[in-house]
Symmetry: C2
Subunit: 296 residues, 2 copies
DNA sequence: TGAATCGATTGAAACGATTCAATTTCGGAG
DNA sequence: CTCCGAAATTGAATCGTTTCAATCGATTCA
């Protein structure tokens, strides 16, 4: 075989078998280290299973998500790992009727008709805000609520509200700071709108829906002469590797990123190959890592 | 077509056409934001060309690189974008005889038989060290020379040596600090070996072959009570987005990451579709960004 | 009215691996 | 030496799309 330099034709195999040896991954932003870490967890599994990984960046857009979903279906992928930006209902039914397994990633699926692997976002949002209240803050900003309902944001906000209620704080003490995007630029924008609030009504702490937002927030605050955590305490979300190396080491809600990817990929492979596969809904628990940004 | 919920079968098309609508990307470490930024540049192009991107993480290993190369050939990909960790000679010939286009990425191809898109690494290594000499340092550490010859490292080291020679410094004033890996952990290890050097012979500045190394280096130095840039000045390479948000904002040699990916993908698509394609060797020029880590 | 031309529709072959059936080969036992 | 069963080999059909040839229909012009 090697002597004749034979390279088998996967197209032909795929046509015959009805499925390829590739799996699709759709994420909202591959530039976010959170998702690259998840992807590496996935790669562990796909590599061991002799499969290739098609990475699709939906760029937080439902339209691009749709397009990639179609293309993956055409490719007859073994399965799709999907971090949905909106409601995944359409994707679910579309792939189901094509017989393509789908595992929801970082999204707690409502139905039991597919696997999902997620982290308890309500608990995460709650522990971030509870921590800020516990160290004495009265008014807390919540950074990340977009106009469109991104699932993770919704849950973390619910957790934040729960923390406020638990500590008997009025709902108005949680100030929502919407952002145009969930990245560094969004964090900078949020910092500006935070500073636009009159000092007396301004939150003295913010909980950001991911670390990129927190980084942008801190950069802008520092450049405007604010001190962290003196003037504003900041908590991020994800605990990406860079969090502890930042100008002000960032407190963050850690998610088991690598595990998240691994488990999801394992479930997908199982569903694609194992006849008597049973759907699972895996929920990991997050963990608060306190660093200097909320420890003054 | 949509009414009947028809989804075309790419496997069959591929079998007939002899090639698929996917392109392969092989990188040494997708966890390095440099490569994700490059990947996003690539995605711009593939997305517009209606192609899918198969991302392969070679994990800095020639064996894994080989395996992925084989799998991509089997997939009959449209082409391969390759950031080689060793000599790409084998890959080049193997794909050539299968008629699969290959564009070398971040590697200045020696031959004119394929396209390559790279950044002038000699110039980059040179400007980093020249800068350190210009601000008064006499002994400079070079972090990143591994046992195996990673192409980029070799060129940047050559540039560093050139800078030393230009400024009439003895060759011994450039201290090579090898690292087990080209990431944060490697930087930490390099910091330890730096501190093991007797203070009088210890370099007062280091040039790291990428920003992850620089981050690890700075983290370990700071935790050991060293001041940056007071005790040790640090320059990184790549200028990843996080560089300016770090504990000590990092000076770094900026590479046009997005452009790098874009251009490479464009050349690949051209080679795959355009009959009268002419190979190009694109070389971008790097730019030194000076920040606090080398500005004391 | 017939022939010629052009467009449209239909038909068949091909891509290469897989799978299952059919045939051949081989070994052992009677 | 023959016969049977097991193993190995050969053969053909299939997957769904594309491509090219062939057939068919219609329109135009002599």
């Amino acid at each position: 075989m090697t002597a004749l330099r034979y390279v088998r034709n996967e197209s032909a195999r795929q046509l015959r078998r009805g499925q390829s040896r590739t799996i699709g991954l759709i994420v909202p932003d591959i530039g976010n280290p959170f998702f690259t870490d998840v992807a590496r967890g996935i790669e562990d599994v796909t590599s061991a299973a002799d499969a290739l990984l098609i990475v699709c960046d939906s760029d937080n857009g439902a339209d691009k998500e749709e397009r990639y979903l179609t293309m993956l279906a055409e490719q007859q992928v073994l399965g799709v790992l999907h971090v949905p930006v909106g409601s995944p209902a359409g994707a679910i039914t579309r792939l189901r009727e094509r017989g393509i397994p789908l595992v929801l990633l970082d999204y707690k699926g409502a139905s039991r008709k597919q696997c999902s692997v997620s982290v308890n976002d309500v608990a995460g949002g709650e522990m971030a805000v509870r921590h800020l209240l516990d160290i004495g803050h009265k008014r807390v900003g919540f950074v990340g609520a977009e106009s469109k309902p991104v699932p993770q944001v919704v849950d973390r906000l619910a957790g934040a509200r729960k923390a406020m209620a638990d500590r008997k704080r009025p709902a108005g003490a949680l100030v929502i700071l919407p952002t145009p995007s969930l990245n560094v630029a969004g964090g900078i924008a949020a910092a500006r709108s935070l500073l636009d609030i009159a000092p007396l009504r301004r939150p003295t702490a913010v909980s950001c829906v991911n670390d990129l937002l927190a980084i942008g927030m801190m950069q802008e605050l520092l450049s405007r002469g604010m001190r962290i955590p003196g003037d504003v305490a900041v908590v991020g979300y994800d605990d990406i590797g860079f969090a502890e190396a930042l100008a002000v080491p960032l407190s963050s809600v850690r998610q088991p990123r690598h595990q998240l990817g691994r488990r999801a990929a394992e479930l997908l492979i199982d569903e694609a190959t194992n006849e008597d596969h049973r759907h699972e809904r895996v929920v990991f628990e997050p963990e608060l890592i306190v660093r200097e940004s909320s420890n003054g």
